[in-house]
């Protein structure tokens, strides 16, 4: 799902949960029941569990990433004992993580800082975003596998929750590398762009630079992290303040300087000291540049979990099940891969059955045809046989008739002959008699 869908669903839930089953207002209870204590229970449990957060910093060398990290958490995450990656020379873009456990006000936080030394440092930087995306994807994959196991344990969440992208303070606009990187990563992680080493820009330059950057971000349709709207007025003011100042311009410092008797974190120049008080201008947030962590750490985690991770997961699972078939129906994505496979199986079974039926039909038809032919030829032959029989019979009868005729003729002729014979005899006798007389 997209971020906008997600935020809409959050809004609709918080506005009124009365839409849905109960058309009336939620029942407000007359006397004390006690579930108003639920938030406290949640609080208690979360403190007991502890928190974790993974922060990724990306930017060219020398932009002050390590310094900023240190000043961010007011501690030396990178120190002489644990040198940061910048002290080591890298040929290719590496991804390195350091884990620290920090406590404040009873709350324990396991913080993982992911650094990308070598980013943008090579001569040919094409594809330098790849190791970063691979890292993020591998963390998603780890989580996905852990989530999908049959025996699930506590799943450590090492997914990248926030990516601070350091923009060099050129004053002009985004470099091609910047837009490239952000385009590849904006759908995988919450990107918060920062202008690094902002103390090299005058306030006006800074303002213009920011405008230019935001314009380019919009033109390239890059989705940076959106600070969510909230109902709390105080918070909304803060959110609006941040939104107006994006991208945040930051200056980091590791050194404590004495200014007017006060010890502050600052950078000392021949022409002055850049530190919190003097930067009370609107354009640089110095002392706690990312005070957004005070209010938005949980939301960063939520967006990572509900938007970026879900996108990764659905992509991965869709690939597994559709397996080469183009996404025929988008409706398939609302089922689990198993249900889908089951459906596929049923479909195939149905297909086979149909094929079977068809073959059966063809078979039957052919058999019928053949039988019919046989019957026809049998009938034909039978007819001829009968015909011949009849003709023979007729001939027999003819013959019989002829014979009869013949016999009749013979009989008649014989009778005639006898008469003739007799006549002859008589004539002869008479003649003889006559002769005798004379």
């Amino acid at each position: 799902c997209s971020w906008s869908e997600y935020s809409e669903s959050i809004e609709s839930r918080s506005k009124s949960c009365t839409s849905g089953s109960d058309p009336q207002q939620p029942k407000t209870l007359e006397a004390y029941v006690g579930f108003a204590n639920l938030p406290n229970q949640v609080y208690r449990k979360s403190v007991k569990r502890g928190f974790e957060f993974t922060l990724m910093v990306v930017g060219e060398s020398g932009l002050g990433k390590s310094t900023l990290i240190n000043s961010l958490f007011l501690t030396d995450l990178y120190s002489p004992e644990y040198p940061g990656p910048s002290h080591r020379i890298k040929q290719t873009v590496q991804v390195e993580q350091s884990k620290v456990l920090i406590k404040e006000g009873g709350v324990q936080l396991l913080l993982t800082i992911v650094d990308t030394p070598g980013f943008g440092d090579a001569v040919d930087n094409s594809g330098c975003w790849k190791s970063v995306t691979d890292y993020i994807d591998s963390k998603f994959e780890d989580f996905l596998n852990a989530e999908s196991r049959v025996n699930r344990r506590q799943m450590p969440d090492s997914r990248v929750h926030c990516c601070l992208y350091f923009i060099a303070p050129s004053g002009h606009g985004l470099k091609p590398l910047d837009t490239e990187f952000m385009k590849y990563l904006h759908e995988k992680v919450n990107i918060i762009p920062l202008i690094a080493k902002a103390d090299t820009l005058t306030p006006e330059e800074c303002q213009q630079f920011k405008r230019q950057i935001m314009k380019e971000i919009q033109e390239n349709e890059i989705k940076i992290y959106e600070f969510p709207e909230t109902e709390d007025e105080e918070e909304m003011k803060l959110v609006k303040k941040i939104k107006d100042r994006l991208p945040l311009a930051v200056v980091g410092s590791n050194t404590i300087i004495e200014v007017d008797g006060k010890r502050v974190r600052g950078r000392k120049y021949p022409w002055g000291v850049a530190e919190g008080e003097s930067f009370k201008s609107e354009f640089v947030l110095f002392r706690n540049p990312l005070f957004i962590f005070r209010t938005h750490m949980q939301d960063l985690k939520d967006v990572t979990n509900n938007v970026h991770y879900e996108n990764f997961r659905s992509g991965k699972l869709a690939a597994v099940t559709c397996n080469g078939m183009e996404n025929k129906h988008n409706g398939q994505l609302t089922k689990s891969p198993l249900a889908q496979m089951e459906e596929e199986r049923q479909e195939n079974m149905g297909r086979i059955k149909k094929m079977e039926q068809e073959m059966e039909n063809v078979f039957e038809m052919k058999v019928k045809e053949k039988l019919q032919k046989l019957r026809d030829s049998e009938a034909e032959l039978q007819k001829r046989h009968d015909q011949m029989n009849r003709s023979i019979l007729a001939q027999h009868r003819d013959l019989e008739e002829k014979r009869r005729q013949l016999e009749e003729e013979i009989a008649t002729w014989e009778t005639q002959q006898r008469i003739l014979e007799q006549q002859k005899l008589e004539t002869l006798k008479g003649g003889n008699k006559k002769k005798k007389i004379f």
Binding site: K27, L29, F35, I102, V107, R149, D302
Partner: protein
């Protein structure tokens, strides 16, 4: 501060670093709480118990509202489950409460299958969640969770022991849901009897291996109160939505001729304890237990049933992709085999039928060959007969011709003789 789960998980990989100022992430629990409050909470209770034990009344009392429903009769043929969802709000907390009632439980003569519909219902809710979780495109964060978080098992106040139906049912349910047994209508039992009853019930549960829900004691802030409450289980409760004036307050109570039982008086019954434990202190834990223990167990069994394994025979872990692909290949292989089988069968049938038909054809031809031969014979005979006849005709003709010739000759001779005679005669005269 005690070590958190996260810290324990991180173990060697992380080093603890002290902060030198206020960063502000200690607001994270608050952020989380705000998010939950905005999202709203959801809780599902299942009430199991015989008809007439006061389940609906207790729910009304517990949540201080009048829920819908008519009291059910005793003549149900089987056990059905009716669920109702309500939206409640207390200060700024919204709760979506679902109450499921077992209708007709314990009313039949043969109660062997009573637990079945309950187990099926619980499993169905798990299944729905599992299906949602397995979808490719899923919306878990806005999913309305219908899994049962707590099961209140109402025990009849006999004062003696658990009924066998109770033991059987609870045994079937204890691995699927958090069971909280309560003694219903406990104003029928005196205090001394109650103590004995509770002990008897607990020992019976233990000896039958029924796992009821234990209030968690691992969190220091609530450990003490929870462990105390654990010792009071099962709670003996009285429910009432009627109010009676005691002193100058209206309290929920049941009024008898001999006295008034006040629902919220801890000396009279354990109602307040139940409310504390169920709602105020451990609601979240009940939900967590349902999700991490009962649901996971169901899921594990279901997946294993479907043939999923975590590791292949070499004990190497399967990735999700491999698992699905393996299953898919299995399916396809099956299908292909079926198709092949069918084809083979058809080929066989066709061959057989062909042979049959050929046989029939051959027979037919033979038959007609025979007939033909018969014809030939007949014809021959006929010919012979004809010839014979012709011969006779010829013979006769010859005879006739010969005879005629003779006759003619004779006649001629005779004729001439006759003529001569006649002439002579004439001459005579």
């Amino acid at each position: 501060m005690a070590s958190t789960e996260i810290a324990r998980q991180a173990g060697e990989g992380a080093r603890a670093v002290p902060l030198s100022g206020h960063v502000g992430f200690d607001s994270m629990p608050d952020q989380l709480v705000n998010k939950s409050v905005n999202h709203g909470f959801c809780f599902n209770i299942l009430c199991v118990g015989e008809t007439g034990l006061g389940k609906s009344t207790l729910m009304d009392t517990l949540f201080n509202t009048k829920f819908e429903g008519e009291p059910t009769q005793h003549n149900q043929p089987g056990v059905t489950l009716k669920s109702n969802t309500y939206e409640l709000q207390e200060s700024n907390v919204r709760l979506k409460l679902t109450m499921v009632n077992t209708v007709g439980f314990g009313d039949q003569i043969n109660k062997e299958d009573s637990y079945k519909s309950i187990v099926e219902f619980i499993d169905a809710q798990f299944e729905a969640y599992l299906q949602e979780e397995l979808k490719i495109k899923r919306t878990l964060h806005s999913y309305h969770d219908t899994r049962i978080h707590a099961c209140l098992y109402f025990i009849a106040p006999t004062g003696h022991s658990l009924k066998s139906l109770d033991l059987v049912t609870m045994k079937k349910l204890d691995s699927k849901v958090n069971i909280i047994p309560i003694i219903a209508k406990s104003d029928a039992i005196s205090k001394s009897e109650l103590a004995k009853f509770k002990i008897k019930i607990t020992s019976e549960l233990v000896s039958n291996g029924v796992q009821i829900y234990q209030f968690p004691t691992d969190d220091e802030s609530v450990a003490e109160i929870n462990s105390t409450m654990n010792s009071h289980l099962p709670f003996a409760v009285v429910g009432s939505t009627e109010e009676v004036k005691i002193g100058n307050k209206m309290v929920k109570a049941r009024q008898y001729p001999w006295g008034t039982v006040q629902v919220e008086n801890e000396n009279h019954c354990d109602f307040v304890k139940l409310r504390e434990m169920l709602i105020r202190v451990n609601m979240e834990d009940l939900r967590e237990q349902t999700h991490t223990r009962h649901y996971e167990l169901y899921r594990r069994c279901k997946l294993e049933e479907m043939g999923f394994k975590d590791t292949d025979p070499d004990s190497k872990p399967f990735s999700l992709q491999e698992t699905y692909e393996a299953k898919r290949n299995e399916f396809m292989g099956e299908l292909q085999k079926k198709e092949e089988e069918m084809r083979q069968m058809f080929v066989q049938r066709v061959k057989e039928k062909e042979a049959e038909l050929k046989e029939a054809e051959k027979e037919l031809h033979e038959k007609f060959d025979r007939l033909k031969k018969l014809h030939q014979d007949e014809k021959k005979k006929l010919e012979e007969k004809k010839k014979a006849l012709d011969d006779e005709v010829n013979t006769f003709k010859q005879k006739k011709t010969a005879a005629e010739l003779l006759l003619n000759q004779a006649q001629q001779a005779g004729g001439s003789t006759t003529l001569k005679r006649d002439k002579e005669r004439k001459n005579f005269f």
